[in-house]
Symmetry: C2
Subunit: 201 residues, 2 copies
Amino acid sequence: MGRLQSFDRTSVVQAARDLFWDKGFDAASLADLEEATGLKRSSIYHAFGSKRGLFDAAVEDYQGTVIRPRLRILTGPGIGRVSLLAYFDDLRWAVSALPEDSPRRGCLLVNCAAGLAGRDDLARQVVDGYRSELTDTLQDALRAAAVAAGDSGPDRAPERARTLASLGMSAMLLARVNAAESLALLDTATVQIRYWFPGSA
Amino acid sequence: MGRLQSFDRTSVVQAARDLFWDKGFDAASLADLEEATGLKRSSIYHAFGSKRGLFDAAVEDYQGTVIRPRLRILTGPGIGRVSLLAYFDDLRWAVSALPEDSPRRGCLLVNCAAGLAGRDDLARQVVDGYRSELTDTLQDALRAAAVAAGDSGPDRAPERARTLASLGMSAMLLARVNAAESLALLDTATVQIRYWFPGSA
DNA sequence: TATATTGTGTACTGAGCGATACACAAAACC
DNA sequence: GGTTTTGTGTATCGCTCAGTACACAATATA
């Protein structure tokens, strides 16, 4: 054995994550990453191998700490109408709670879709995995809501799931361009859900 | 007077446009631009002032040759249900007609939203202008369709316009990640339109 | 044809990039 | 405590970037 790591890996990865979230992979320089993480580049390269290695770790953290907890709302208690509304409410909170210039505006993976994913197969797979997981989870919740509402008509869940996923992704896309319109898109999602599944609230 | 420009400005701008469309502002280098346009950098700087100047010219061309002609479908003959379906049909054609590795996949402005627009106010304004023009135009067509259908209920045009704009933008976002899913989103839009305004086709 | 004006080609600049070499520091094991 | 193993700091690498200096080419005007 030898010397031990003197930094907390998680907090370093999350500092890098926030920087990538803010500026994207290309625009985040190693100098920026040194400043954000407090590490010298030798330590970064020793621990993560490359800028890309650190980015991949940041994406993994993002999935674990941002994406999955959010998706869990959809599958959690009240799966169906309630969980769908809670999901978009959570998204709405995330967009409106952050200051206009917060580094965490929007979605790291959505930004990635328009950038890295255009020329990097791995990034493309990650983004598409997120998309399909979101759509599938929305679809399950929509089916549960339809069952609870006694809806016995044709299965509209696939197209409704695509519509809701689309509203969520667009809202993330617009979060850094026009926060008010981003919120309007999320409100549109809840309006749709209430329209499909009329209820008390 | 002096020597005359020996190149066709429009074709140069469009070559640059396609490169920016493909790689984005940052990833498109001046060496790439020289190769794509056939111009040496002295000529580029003489004619456009800077890389950004060429980019702005490219965006302007993009709006004039891609965005506006497409929006004109929505306001043109058959405004309402027909024009809405034609619009998404045109978008669908654009996504499916291009080869998997075409430089023109997706939308220059949508890519810009996740990249440049995050740190550049001018780019942000252009992107938001596009968004609002798209939404407004969709809303007009939706109102026309509602009138034609004799729909006298509450005005659902605003939320429907947001939903359709969202589907269009998401489809552009996903065009480079998963073309099949991009098409599925566009199909979802036409399904919605047909659902809102039942008709013969 | 002489001159003024403008476009083009070549060669280069300084700055910033990701990545690395290597000496040194520190902790676990014998 | 000496040795081995591993983390950290400094200094720098080679490269690419956007942008520029300047000579030369070409054409409209006088």
